[in-house]
């Protein structure tokens, strides 16, 4: 009989413990050469070397039980074979640490880039009948599902697609705003509570994806936020179609201070840029 393993479901220290364990796994994979090299223009050889040259070696990225592994190269067959090796190594290391790969929730993409009039376009790389085979929890060989370049996959609450399309993520964000709006309309929140909820719940939720992973236009931001605003403002005693100047201007100007998603995206990125340069 298997002994109980893990740190128990709901353990507050779980993410930290996993972060420590996964860091070692990534370090081992990096040590074996399974990393992509990100480099930039300027190098410097001395006691310190510049952070911009050949400093960034990326095996993948992970949070809690979500993990992406990356391999790159010039030939699709080589990249696919390399990914097969990395996944095997990953599974072996997971087993040692008491974990396992959930094969039903694991997928892979293999992308190539085509140049059309000087612009790249992501396409599905051709590797013939190649399949990535992994060992499941039941110790059986399982073929991992390969996804198309247009098929979106959720990671850390963000829908990512290699072709770079934002449609899925925008639809997802709009759905969140719609559901939130429906709950506000049906609920019995007071005027001040509905405004407070708009500031502190849905606005916070919607501002995360643009900051982390995607760029939206002003029109897309308005489209996403509209259901939440149209539900919360009438509940708070204001017209849902009140002027955007009154809606988004700060409280000091006797306005509503509702988050403008597009401005938040732009100003936060500018602040990040100023801080990091």
């Amino acid at each position: 009989m298997n002994e109980p393993q893990g740190v128990l479901q709901g353990n507050a220290a779980g993410p930290t413990i996993w972060s420590t364990i996964s860091s070692f796994i990534f370090k081992i994979l990096q040590g074996k050469g399974f990393s992509d090299r990100f480099c930039s223009a300027k190098g410097f050889s001395d006691r310190f070397c510049s952070a911009i040259s050949n400093v960034f070696l990326l095996v993948g990225f992970a949070f809690v039980d979500d993990c992406d592994l990356i391999q790159s190269g010039q030939d699709p067959h080589e990249v696919a074979a390399s990914m097969q090796t990395v996944i095997r190594e990953w599974i072996d290391l997971m087993e040692v640490s008491g974990g396992a790969l959930e094969t039903k929730k694991s997928y892979w993409y293999l992308m190539d880039y085509e140049w059309v009039h000087g612009k790249w376009k992501a396409v599905n790389a051709d590797t013939g009948d190649f399949e990535i085979i992994v060992r499941s929890v039941d110790n059986e060989d399982v073929v991992l599902t390969r996804l198309d370049r247009d098929e979106e996959l959720e990671m850390l609450d963000i829908w990512i697609v290699p072709s770079g399309e934002n449609k899925g993520m925008i639809a997802e964000m709009r759905d969140k705003a719609l559901n939130w709006g429906a709950r506000v309309r049906l609920g019995k929140a007071s005027a001040s509570d509905s405004l407070a909820a708009l500031y502190t719940t849905i606005s916070m939720k919607l501002k995360y994806p643009p900051l982390a992973a995607l760029t939206l236009t002003a029109k897309e931001c308005t489209y996403i936020m509209a259901p939440a605003i149209k539900a919360a403002l009438p509940r708070a005693g204001f017209s849902g179609s009140v002027s955007c100047v009154f809606r988004h201007a700060p409280n000091q100007g006797f306005s509503l201070n509702v988050m403008d998603l597009y401005s938040t995206m732009g100003t936060t990125r500018t602040a990040l840029l100023v801080h990091h340069c």
């Binding site: 223009a41 300027k42 310190f48 510049s50 400093v55 000087g118 612009k119 770079g164 990125r269 500018t270």
Partner: protein, 174 residues
């Protein structure tokens, strides 16, 4: 971008004619331009190495107006890592080097891009026997390590620690 100096002080409508617009940085610059936000960040920048040196995109944007042509020239420029206007690229690949930058980005260049490039070269080297109309002057030699005084992020040689310089005397270790 292919221009000397810092991107924050350049006019977006000018370099947007030939720069790719898919990057995070481009969108930040576009947002700031649309909202008349000016940011001032001092850090290392590409500078002319000789008197009368001009960036090639600075010169060709005065001659060409078409976005397609400017983009074609920029693609050739980026493929070969060329910034100044006094490097002549023709059928033989340029093998010299005016700086020690290791440009990581390679771009797909078609034969028609080289045709446009050749046309640009005709304009840029408009002097007798394809020389510059204003010859280059003396070298403006910078210390090779001058940029390091303006750089904030460093990593130790063994890559174990990451440092951020907040002020001259204040460092953060990661």
């Amino acid at each position: 971008m292919g221009l000397y100096g810092l991107i924050w002080y350049k006019s977006l409508p000018v370099y947007a004619k030939w720069c790719s617009d898919h990057s995070w940085l481009f969108h930040v610059c576009q947002f700031n331009n649309d909202h008349e936000i000016a940011i001032k960040i001092e850090h290392a920048a590409l500078k002319p190495k000789r008197l009368h040196d001009r960036a090639i995109m600075d010169v060709v944007q005065e001659i060409f107006d078409s976005k397609a042509e400017l983009r074609a020239i920029n693609r050739v420029r980026m493929l070969h890592g060329v910034v100044p206007d006094n490097v002549f690229l023709s059928r033989a690949q340029f093998g010299g080097s005016r700086n020690d930058f290791l440009w990581p980005a390679k771009h797909h260049v078609s034969s028609s891009d080289y045709t446009t490039w050749s046309k640009a070269v005709e304009f840029v080297f408009a002097g007798t026997n394809q020389t510059l109309t204003t010859p280059l002057g003396s070298w403006l030699v910078d210390c090779d390590r001058q940029w390091i005084g303006e750089w904030d992020w460093f990593v130790t040689f063994d890559r174990e620690s990451f440092y951020f310089r907040s002020f001259d005397t204040e460092w953060y270790q990661y």
